[in-house]
């Protein structure tokens, strides 16, 4: 009976009677066009061409990457190719053009493809998972550990609970704080490409860096040949450079790129051959030093060729977020009001946790007002899974360290997803009494405190009705 008081499942149809949802219904009718799912996508992504193209919120340095490639190749075709075609062969610009096209297409595919985003759990699913955690959780003061252990190929793997997506993350999935999405087979968030690299676009990313290695080496070689040939025809080196200054620019760009790109290609070739992700390699999840008993990568097929084939030529999984699908009528309404309902004001179990809760609320509100990211304190409990990743990133020094070219932006910033929710409060708070928000349910039930109490002051200023 007590347990039943603690939370109730939302019936989506009950929401339609609340004033806020009525308002939403009204605006829906006013809009009078069916909305597509990408328009209500909760992650921090941007969509173009009516949902066909997906990008991270910050495009990072993608324009710079594209610009560098286009400028270097442009200079190459304009200034080096005429000389080389005359003195060597006409195939040089042909090979250059093929490589250039391949690089640009791979880059655009990597940037604009859904990396394998896992859609967030529906309220019903989240409630079901909550129920399962509760029945098996311990009744101590501390929050129950949000991990689940499973056996994969006779090896124990821990699945972590994602507070934003409200589900246990599948193995090899990680939550990217920059994009605010759980991404399957998460490799890293690449600023050069402006997107996460995950299950669906890893092969594009790999072909991008491999073809870029070939392209930069090719241009580097051709430019050196060009200058050498010029200086051989009776002129000095300085004179040759003066005649073709663009070559120097290309040389400098290629020289610095080659180190990082070749290093990155080598590193990722190693990862592909051992069926690892950058994330796992950096955290040392499967390194033999960590485990006492022999434990290897449970996902590896123990054959380099098979691993390569699986990662690069395996079947192409579909996008799970269905960006261009239309919202059904019963989805459209709860989606907009659900975001207001996922507020924290609900049944606390004891004062101590309400204190923590309200402190977290204040912190999160501060964070939101400072425009997220850089100022989020890493200590908040919700971010503990990510916080752990940060400490392990800084602590460990990976042997095959990824070069500066693509520094993995692991979760060094806590999730800021709830922050906007705090500011978008509305009159539907009464209905939100029955909300499900596992992120804020810290302790397990304790019968004497099933009556909710509200801490004055910093607690969220919501209406509160104690349950009978």
């Amino acid at each position: 009976m007590m347990k039943n008081c603690e939370y109730q499942q939302i019936d989506p149809r009950a929401l339609t009677v609340s004033p806020c949802s009525a308002q939403n219904q009204h605006t829906e009718k006013r809009a009078q066009r069916p909305r597509r799912k990408w328009e209500v996508f909760p992650g921090k992504n941007r969509f173009f061409c009516d949902g066909r193209i997906i990008l991270a919120r910050q495009s990072g340095v993608l324009p710079l990457t594209l610009g560098l490639i286009v400028v270097t190749c442009g200079l190459f075709f304009a200034f080096d190719c005429p000389f080389l075609v005359k003195h060597l062969t006409v195939f040089i610009p042909v090979i250059g053009a093929v490589l250039f096209v391949f690089v640009v297409i791979s880059l655009l595919r990597t940037s604009f493809t859904d990396p394998g985003i896992l859609p967030r759990a529906t309220p019903d699913e989240a409630a079901d998972i909550e129920k399962q955690i509760d029945t098996s959780g311990s009744s101590t003061y501390r929050p129950p550990p949000r991990t689940k252990e499973i056996l994969i190929n006779q090896q124990v793997v821990k699945l972590k609970y994602c507070f934003t997506c409200k589900t246990f993350r599948p193995p090899r999935t990680s939550h990217c704080s920059l994009c605010d999405n759980c991404v399957e087979r998460f490799d890293h968030h690449c600023p050069w490409v402006g997107n996460c690299v995950g299950k669906r676009n890893y092969r594009f990313f790999y072909s991008f860096i491999i073809s870029l290695s070939f392209l930069t080496s090719f241009i580097f070689g051709c430019v050196i040949t060009h200058i050498t040939l010029r200086s051989q025809t009776g002129k000095s080196l300085v004179q040759a450079i003066q005649e073709s200054p663009a070559s120097v620019v290309e040389l400098v760009i290629c020289f610095f790129s080659i180190w990082s790109i070749l290093g990155l290609s080598g590193f990722h070739t190693y990862l592909v051959a051992s069926n690892l992700t950058t994330n796992e390699d950096i955290k040392g999840s499967w390194s033999s030093k960590r485990a006492a008993e022999e434990s290897g990568n449970p996902y590896s097929y123990n054959s380099i060729i098979t691993n390569c084939c699986v990662t690069l030529c395996g079947p192409m999984p579909p996008s799970l977020i269905d960006r261009r699908g239309f919202l059904s009528l019963d989805e459209a309404i709860p989606t907009s009001s659900a975001s207001e309902i996922e507020l924290p004001p609900f049944l606390a179990k004891n004062d101590a946790h309400m204190c923590t809760q309200s402190t977290k609320d204040v912190l999160e509100r501060m964070v939101h007002s400072f425009d997220l990211h850089a100022l989020c304190p890493p200590g908040t409990p919700k971010t503990s899974p990510l916080g752990m990743e940060v400490s392990s990133t800084t602590a460990t020094s990976p042997e095959a360290s990824p070069p500066a070219g693509c520094s993995p932006q692991l979760a060094d910033q806590p999730m800021a997803a709830p922050c906007p929710l705090f500011s978008s409060r509305s009159s539907s708070k009464r209905d939100s009494l029955h909300s499900i928000n596992p992120a804020f349910r810290l302790a397990s039930p304790s019968p004497s405190l099933s009556r909710a109490t509200l801490i004055p002051g910093d607690a969220p200023d919501t209406g509160f009705i104690p349950l009978p």
Binding site: D124, D128, N153, T306, C309, G314, I321
Partner: protein, 143 residues
């Protein structure tokens, strides 16, 4: 489409009593498989064998979609050589199998689940995380 009408009508008229979620089974790695354990809430509604048969068939279909055979390798190599532009005009093997799965679920719903007041939701609509089984109120009992 008389069948879809009846499903939609049912959804609108019948109240949802509960939802059961069949979670993923990761014992074989990250391939898409669902747990075949029979949930207790369905004991009164459907035969255990039948339900497990449905889930097992689904698992086999997903395994077929993700199978690493010569066909998937050829498709992958061809895609790589054409700088992945071939996907713009061709449907991948996975997508073809997903269509097969959608048809199978529709057929199972029509034949077995809807008459018993249940509804299977295609896992792809839930991000391949769960198989959602909606249990509708049994009107015949509440009368």
């Amino acid at each position: 489409m008389a069948e879809t009408h009846s499903l939609q009508d049912m959804r609108q008229q019948a109240a949802v009593a509960a939802k059961v979620f069949i979670q993923r089974d990761y014992t074989n790695g990250t391939v898409c498989q669902f747990q075949t354990k029979f949930p207790s809430e369905l004991e009164t509604r459907i035969d255990k064998q039948q339900f497990e048969e449905t889930v097992r068939t689904l698992n086999n279909l997903y395994a077929e979609a993700e199978k690493l055979g010569s066909q998937s390798y050829i498709e992958g190599c061809l895609a790589c050589l054409t700088a992945y532009t071939v996907f713009l005009c061709m449907e991948t093997h996975y997508e073809k199998v997903l269509k097969k799965i959608a048809k199978y679920i529709q057929e199972q719903n029509d034949k077995i689940y809807t008459p018993r007041g249940l509804l299977l939701t295609d896992p792809i609509e839930r991000g391949l995380r769960v198989v959602e089984v909606t249990i509708f109120e049994d009107r015949s009992l509440t009368r």
